[in-house]
Symmetry: C2
Subunit: 392 residues, 2 copies
């Protein structure tokens, strides 16, 4: 039995540096959501976290509840929390993170580390000058992150629930509006504008301890750009895309939900577009189960809109049609693995993914329908069902 | 006149890669707040931005309004916005940012770039393998960022205004509460808990198009940890630290405001602590003006609390007393230059900084008073004044 090489792989050290709020890997591994940047090392089965002196107590309390540890509950994982002072750094000036990392790696006798692609180049350069070999990992450093535990699914469900309640509130607001003689939506004497609908959504989210800084409420031609947040008065008979992706303020897990609605009467073409997007979502959902290729899910959705006559391409440098992937994983990051586009990868039970086909044409507007679902051993289920109603 | 060397310095190229929301430098230079990561190059007096094909139109519209351009309004700055396709990248797969950067640098005939310390190591490594020299800049790549234009001061004032209104709402809630026989604050039959006060604050912020994910409402012993967000029932006669730092959802500029209040009667020692922190803030404010050393501001504040008998040090690895710097710059980042600690640097007219001395003792709790002010040619002024009231 030749274990040598394999053993080495197992005991390869991982180094992370940064703020947990900017770095889901760090949050996943440590469970510690600090304001200040920290240093994290995983060496073999041991984990170490260096935090500012005044954070040591809190880091010790919080680092016992990380999703990482829940995943590996059969192993006695324990994060050793250290302050710079405990590493012998007594400098009164704010010492640099690379010093913290270097002292810790030396104490652990680690001379080579794997880092994620976003790892700060300034720190990497400093470590390499000091003789530490820094390798960017092409693979996920914590591949288990894409497979959610029951605990994590519960947290994502909380955020998704907030999104559903906010979506219903926004839909009711649009449904209750009146259409004036110029085709604008009015609430009494006031125009219904994207900004106000967004504010209503954000308020509901905050009431549920969630927040989404980039909620989309985009009407008419604005809806043809999937990243346009939307602004100004909303009009009748045109699509209004509402994309709500709240993050929970306490635990940091996201939810993701999109609906497209029309107040008034959509054209026959818009109805066909909506039908195609809904059918594409169903086609994608139908093939969701463990061991299916991620690209298969995307291809099914793309085939469905194509079969219904909706073209995808580029005109004058601007893409039109089904111009993005079918979905992405959701967890401590709003976009994480698995990606449901054309890249490699297989679905696993416990993946939490969005299924969000869309069609976008500059002259018609955009239509997108998105739900967040969990892949189960048998297939999939909605985290929180939300009605799909096009005409309000 | 030997211009050669100097010219080279002036025409040194800067490379940034990332999402504007994670990278204030990028937001500052381009004015473009995209969801997707982008590539930015400044070569001589020209600027280039590579964005996904479907973002080109929006990037062109938004990149004309950046603070950077306002700073350099005498120069005809113009960002050239490009898509990967315009650089000859036709790969159907999601192409990597390092490809975008490499193609752009080759087109511009740039072989060496300066990057910030946080620059992603994965991209730096790839560029270096392709023969581009990547140097981490020790200096700020956009030192003008610390000097705000009138436009920027107006934006920060908006966020500060939201913080002041939210603070007053929270103060009124605490002032209107009743003290039960066990010393807990009650609102009718309900306990007043940190989480509820925070939710009230967040709602006011959202109503003003702002958001602060990490508002602090920490009472009693929790207030002794300056980063503790606070949880559970609030008690009478104990300090309650409220730190509100909202970011505006549209333009991304931050505000920052802290007050410490007591419902009921604080002890004589707490009153002395409050007096010392307020005096320290005044001492720091009094010396604020252009050409003063940043460290001087901090030393004045520290002297003031020491003179009043409040010690700073460490006990059992836990720091106590005046354990942080006196302030920091505020702009597109909540913490940016100039730093008002012990580091080098001089104040300039147009700096927007917090002045926030604090005292923290595990057995007494914490007291911090923070305002955000602008350094003027003659001295300083509050962005938005907010009353300082200790006993409610």
């Amino acid at each position: 039995m030749k274990l040598g090489k394999n053993m080495k792989k197992l005991t390869r050290s991982v180094l992370l540096v940064g703020k947990a709020s900017d770095c889901p890997e760090l949050e996943y591994a440590t469970g510690f959501r600090a304001v200040d940047p920290v240093v994290f090392v995983q060496s073999g089965e041991r984990q170490y976290l260096v935090v500012p002196g005044l954070e040591v107590g809190r880091a010790r309390r919080e680092s016992d509840s990380s999703a990482f540890r829940e995943h590996h509950s059969t192993v006695n994982w324990q994060v050793e929390v250290l302050s710079p002072k405990m590493l012998g750094i007594t400098d009164q000036k704010r010492s640099r993170l690379s010093d913290w990392a270097l002292k810790l790696l030396r104490r652990l006798d680690v001379a080579a580390v794997s880092v994620p692609p976003w790892f700060p180049h300034g720190v990497a350069e400093r470590l390499e000058r000091a003789g530490v070999k820094v390798s960017v990992s092409k693979e996920d450093l914590f591949p288990d992150r894409a497979v959610k535990t029951l605990y994590e699914i519960g947290k994502i469900t909380q955020s998704q629930q907030a999104a559903v309640i906010a979506m219903r509130t926004a839909m009711a607001l649009i449904a209750d509006s009146e259409i004036d003689r110029n085709g604008y939506l009015r609430n009494g004497s006031k125009f219904v504008i994207s900004e106000d609908v967004r504010r209503v959504i954000e308020k509901v989210l905050v009431e549920h301890d969630c927040f989404c800084g980039e909620t989309i409420v985009a009407g008419g031609s604005q809806s043809a750009d999937p990243h346009e947040r939307g602004n100004g008065p909303l009009r009748a008979h045109e699509p209004i895309v509402m994309d709500i992706f709240p993050r929970h303020l306490e635990h940091g897990y996201w939810g993701d939900l999109t609906r497209t609605v029309v107040k008034g009467r959509p054209s026959a073409m818009l109805r066909r577009m909506y039908g195609a997007v809904k059918a594409a979502q169903n086609a994608a959902l139908t093939c969701l189960k463990p061991h299916v290729k991620c690209a298969t899910v995307h291809r099914r959705a793309a085939q469905e809109v194509k079969r219904r006559g909706f073209r995808t391409g580029t005109e004058k440098g601007r893409p039109f049609g089904f111009i993005h992937g079918t979905g992405h994983g959701v967890g401590l990051a709003i976009h994480e693995g698995p990606s449901l586009g054309l890249a490699d990868g297989w679905l696993k039970a416990g993946n939490v993914v969005t299924i969000e086909p869309g069609l976008y044409y500059p002259d018609l507007g955009g239509i997108r329908i998105e739900d967040t679902v969990v892949v189960t051993p048998e297939g999939w289920r909605y985290l929180v069902p939300c009605e799909k109603k096009f005409e309000l």
